[in-house]
Symmetry: C2
DNA sequence: GCTATCCTATGACGACCGTTATAGCCAGTG
DNA sequence: CACTGGCTATAACGGTCGTCATAGGATAGC
């Protein structure tokens, strides 16, 4: 269906150029659908389209995370960082996270912003739950999960600015060590 | 001078709405200067204006960081997080970091992007140097410095999305503990 | 007083934006 | 066959954007 192509194309454009630079016209053209169709599928306009793009991105990451976390928190975190490394490497550091892009551009897109908050919360919960399962206290697990996501998102932005993978690798190295130490201490 | 007001206004608008939603017209109006003056002061157009706004933000943070780091890395990091906490609280979670905003919106603003990369690098160097002075190995100090900046920037974005200060506090708590442990181990 | 220089003031340019309206195609159902 | 509803196709709306050009005013040095 072409509806999904529109959402996927919007997400791709948003993670590269941000929300405001992603025009509905270009999204439609890229998806091979007429402009009018966009407003047929998304009567809520750009806000709705952006919100769905954010939710799609959330699901993709959440699915990968859920799969890898079954092998343990360390594997999940490793997969999370590997995912961003691939995104950066595969786009010459030109793409980042569409969820973050929406949160940074405060225009009047309340649905999209809500979806963005929900995505961060969902990822955090997944990670925190996995940590708690492996003996980390609930409070500490939540803190660690937030740290993991915040630092990964921040590192991706730094990588884009500097056109280098090093910030992400630095952050991943530090957090992997911290995670191992924390889990080892509670086992 | 009105030139500085233009740059400061641009930085403020960028950190709230992002680069693309910051129009030169509005910046000029907000600064009380005519639109034509903007192109007199910044013949390089929006790219130059954005780059100078990023450099101004870099300097403000770097100055504060330099001052606080004289009392040690822990105090510097605490001040860094306190700064972002104030920005968020003082704007109802509607403002973030203009440096990050530029890096996220990949339009053709090469100078601004370069300034953004330079800002991240400058802050990292300051923090890493302070850590190294207090016994942390050079490699580790660089990694930790990157982690501190990445996680602070990422947490600020999460706070904006969720309209809550908790992500920043969670990250600050984790990193403060990590920092203390690291410095204690090498002393 | 004269002039050169910096800045103001104003308006225009082409382009793109989000959104809406309207008319037409083209299935599938009865 | 008729017809209805989902989607296409196309054009237009008011608005804002970055940028540029040009003319006016002020101010400082001579």
């Amino acid at each position: 269906m072409s509806r999904q192509q529109i959402v996927a194309g919007a997400a791709d454009m948003m993670r590269r150029r941000g929300l405001n630079a992603t025009s509905i016209r270009e999204v439609a053209k890229h998806a091979g659908t007429p402009l009018g169709s966009t407003y047929h599928y998304f009567p809520g306009g750009k806000d709705q389209l952006a919100a769905e793009a954010v939710r799609l991105s959330e699901e993709i990451v959440a699915t990968l995370l859920a799969e890898k976390l079954r092998q343990g928190p360390a594997e999940g975190v490793a997969a999370f960082f590997a995912l961003w490394r691939e995104v950066l490497a595969g786009t010459e550091f030109k793409a980042g996270c569409p969820v973050l892009a929406v949160a940074v551009e405060e225009a009047d897109h309340p649905e999209a912003l809500k979806a963005s908050a929900e995505a961060f919360r969902a990822w955090s919960k997944q990670l925190a739950a996995s940590l708690a399962e492996h003996g980390v206290g609930a409070r500490r697990a939540a803190q660690l999960a937030t740290l993991l996501i915040a630092s990964a998102e921040g590192a991706v932005v730094m990588c884009r600015a500097q056109r280098s993978i090093q910030p992400l690798d630095d952050v991943a190295a530090e957090l992997t060590a911290l995670l191992e130490a924390t889990i080892a201490a509670r086992t």
